[in-house]
Symmetry: C2
Subunit: 435 residues, 2 copies
């Protein structure tokens, strides 16, 4: 809460100015870091989840805009709350084909077009899902660590996040079951509304749920839906940024009618975050509540950018762009892995996962090193020219204990040589505070 708000309340002691909900909302911790970075323009930021500026599809976007405006002025008119039907249809058939290829089957699409919803970025859909499912005090089970923007949305609506231990394959199904059993014993199982996961190249850890774990987690959601459905919110923002290994079918494949699964995705990572078009595949019974909410929240997403993406897809440019992104990011990811080996490989109790895609890596330092904003490491690295995200920002409020010796690194923005230089700075800063 700002000082301004406090002083205004002081003027009016008999009642509060803001809603309860507004007092639950807090900004994203990363906003503060961004401000620090802006104050030092030459800093090497391995913090932001931005995409590589060099890869932004200027030419493809210009072509799509030219095509669509030559055809009709309609993209400049209002759209609908659901979003552009043509884009929704292309997205759905695309992703069913992708799942069939990954599973080597020919399962027919069992999801209706009505179950596809477009939002300006998938963040809005995640927020709307939280708002539609959670009353204050309700629980979402998340990996510990997990994506802080989603956890902020849960907090904003008064919900609780409960963290589950992970390994290199993501959330541990046994740990989810144990947590549910404990909540049942405490009479709190009715509070659990959803399990949130980023099954492909997780933000922040880079880990992916194996095929087997996906099915296990789906089974757990079914089994523990004793008082009401427990949904799985499957955030698939990074799926297309795959650099090694085979594609894995989405939760959608094992739950083709979307009885338990809410799938969200976005063009922000695989095309452009500035265009900001996201989408989701939604269980039938949530379509009407979400569309009602959407009609009050903003009366429909920008139609112009939806039509740009429809034209990008029709021109085949999305696939071409993703192919290019994979090449570029593979190089950057390799640079980061090599730099970590080179500069941090000899530090005892320092380890990281080897992600096969995405934009994030998760680093665990020795227990005695705190990486947070009140530590000595963060200001030391900032002074030396590197910005990272303290891992503690990524932990749910309840459940699995916060590990304060962790760091989220992203390799999307910097060049291979800056990545190398950044990790060198990190290693030097660690050596400096340990000496």
């Amino acid at each position: 809460m700002s000082d301004n708000v406090k002083s205004n309340n002081a003027q009016f002691p008999q009642a509060r100015l803001l809603s309860n909900r507004a007092t639950w909302a807090s900004g994203q911790p990363i906003d503060e870091l961004m401000a620090m970075a802006l104050a030092k323009p030459n800093i090497i930021s391995l913090a932001a989840g931005f995409v590589d500026n060099e890869t932004l599809p200027v030419e493809m976007t210009r072509n799509a805009v030219t095509d669509m405006l030559a055809e009709s002025p309609a993209p400049l008119q209002y759209g609908t709350n659901h979003g552009d039907p043509e884009l929704r249809e292309m997205l759905l058939s695309n992703s069913v084909a992708q799942d069939n290829a990954a599973a080597q089957t020919q399962q027919a699409c069992q999801t209706q077009l009505e179950q596809v919803l477009i939002t300006p970025g998938s963040n809005q859909l995640l927020y709307m899902v939280a708002d539609t499912l959670l009353d204050p005090g309700d629980i979402v089970i998340c990996a510990a660590p997990s994506y802080f923007v989603f956890m902020g949305a849960v907090k904003n609506v008064g919900g609780r996040t409960l963290g589950i231990a992970i390994d290199q394959q993501g959330m541990l199904p046994d740990a989810i079951e144990e947590a549910l059993q404990r909540l049942e014993d405490q009479g709190e199982l009715q509070r659990v509304k959803a399990i949130y996961t980023i099954p492909y190249y997780d933000n922040p850890t880079g880990t992916s749920l194996s095929s087997e774990r996906r099915q296990q987690i789906l089974e757990i959601a079914r089994k523990w839906s004793k008082y009401h459905k427990i949904y799985i919110i499957s955030d698939e923002a990074y799926r297309l940024l795959r650099y090694q290994g085979d594609d894995i079918p989405s939760m959608h494949h094992w739950d083709p009618q979307l009885e338990h699964s809410i799938i969200t995705s976005t063009f922000s990572k695989s095309y452009s975050p500035g265009i900001r078009v996201g989408w989701g595949y939604i269980p039938n019974e949530l379509v009407e509540p979400l569309i009602n909410h959407k009609s009050n929240l903003d009366f429909g997403s920008p139609f112009f950018t939806q039509r740009i993406m429809a034209n990008v897809l029709k021109r085949g440019d999305w696939d071409r762009h993703v192919t290019r992104l994979r090449e570029i990011y593979t190089t950057k990811q390799q640079a980061m892995l090599q730099a970590l080996d080179k500069y941090l490989g000899s530090i005892e109790n320092c380890h990281w996962y080897q992600p096969k895609g995405g934009l994030c890596m998760w680093l665990t330092l020795p227990d005695n090193i705190d990486t947070g904003p009140a530590s000595t490491l963060l200001p030391t690295t900032i002074d030396a020219g590197l910005l990272y995200v303290p891992g503690q920002y990524c932990f749910p409020v309840e459940g699995q204990k916060v590990n304060r010796s962790t760091i989220r690194l992203t390799f999307g923005v910097q060049s291979a040589s800056s990545i190398d230089q950044g990790i060198a700075i990190l290693a030097e800063s660690i050596a400096q505070i340990q000496s």
Copy 2:
């Protein structure tokens, strides 16, 4: 609530599936009408708040996109929660200049750039303001009738709308005072968080608040801020669509530091609803809560469309477009006024306001004619080829009684001859059900 939700709840009788808030949300009544209209493609719709397709700025938008993409790929990258600083600065200095011209003064701008916030359409900002100010049961005072999308947002967050009588100059200040006195007597004044007004060419009535009334309403908000601030939410979406008379200063002019006034506006009516860029001028103490909410709600508005509008403004194209819109809509508004005189002028107890701008007109029919969805008039006119918005959709839940003999007409989309034809159908349908 859909049948699907009911049946799912029936499966899980011990607890509910959705949040309380999701059960408060309902879709916009106009969605149903749009579906009716789509089923009859040749219907003359005087219902939708769409803008004229012929006026959509295809060429200007293409030029802006070409310019901006030639300069930098940045519009394809993430923006910030606040929105593009260059666009915010242009908007603020523009509107201060406009107020100074209207008031014939040279008041310096007292609003900080930080107080300007961009959202995808002003609807999102209206929703966020409702969510930030209102706890369930809190009250927003509105004109009766008022804008149904905003009233839907208030309902979505559990708030109450209380309607105030109007005349041809909008809300009656005395009626606001009486309502506040009554609420104070009932011990409910603490529930009142805001007064919502569309001071320029109101949706749905077309009326405008006079200079004097604006100042009176501001004075009322100040005077009755006994327990906490009572804000004025001034929705200025239609300001630039002025066809007759002089411009009137905004509430911002009499409250230059925005102590009580939240001003919202949008390019949807004055440029393009598909681009969907809106903005607001926000009291200092609400900046942080709103930005926090925004960072959870969607993590920032699409940057691409904000940069399009910045380029449109820099090219001077917004002014040029508004000049053209004024000419086109003046003709349409005249056509509607003439048709109303011609076809409905002789019906006793049938009257309408003469708006000087905007896109809406408000028609009151004789008391014995119900215009609603369960009436005989609406299906009669739809069969005959005309769609209108039943006025009853536009009334707040509490306060001033609903007038079921009213109609909202819009003249943005149809040609002058279709407007004439539409009003002729309305007159015939009235004659038919009265005989």
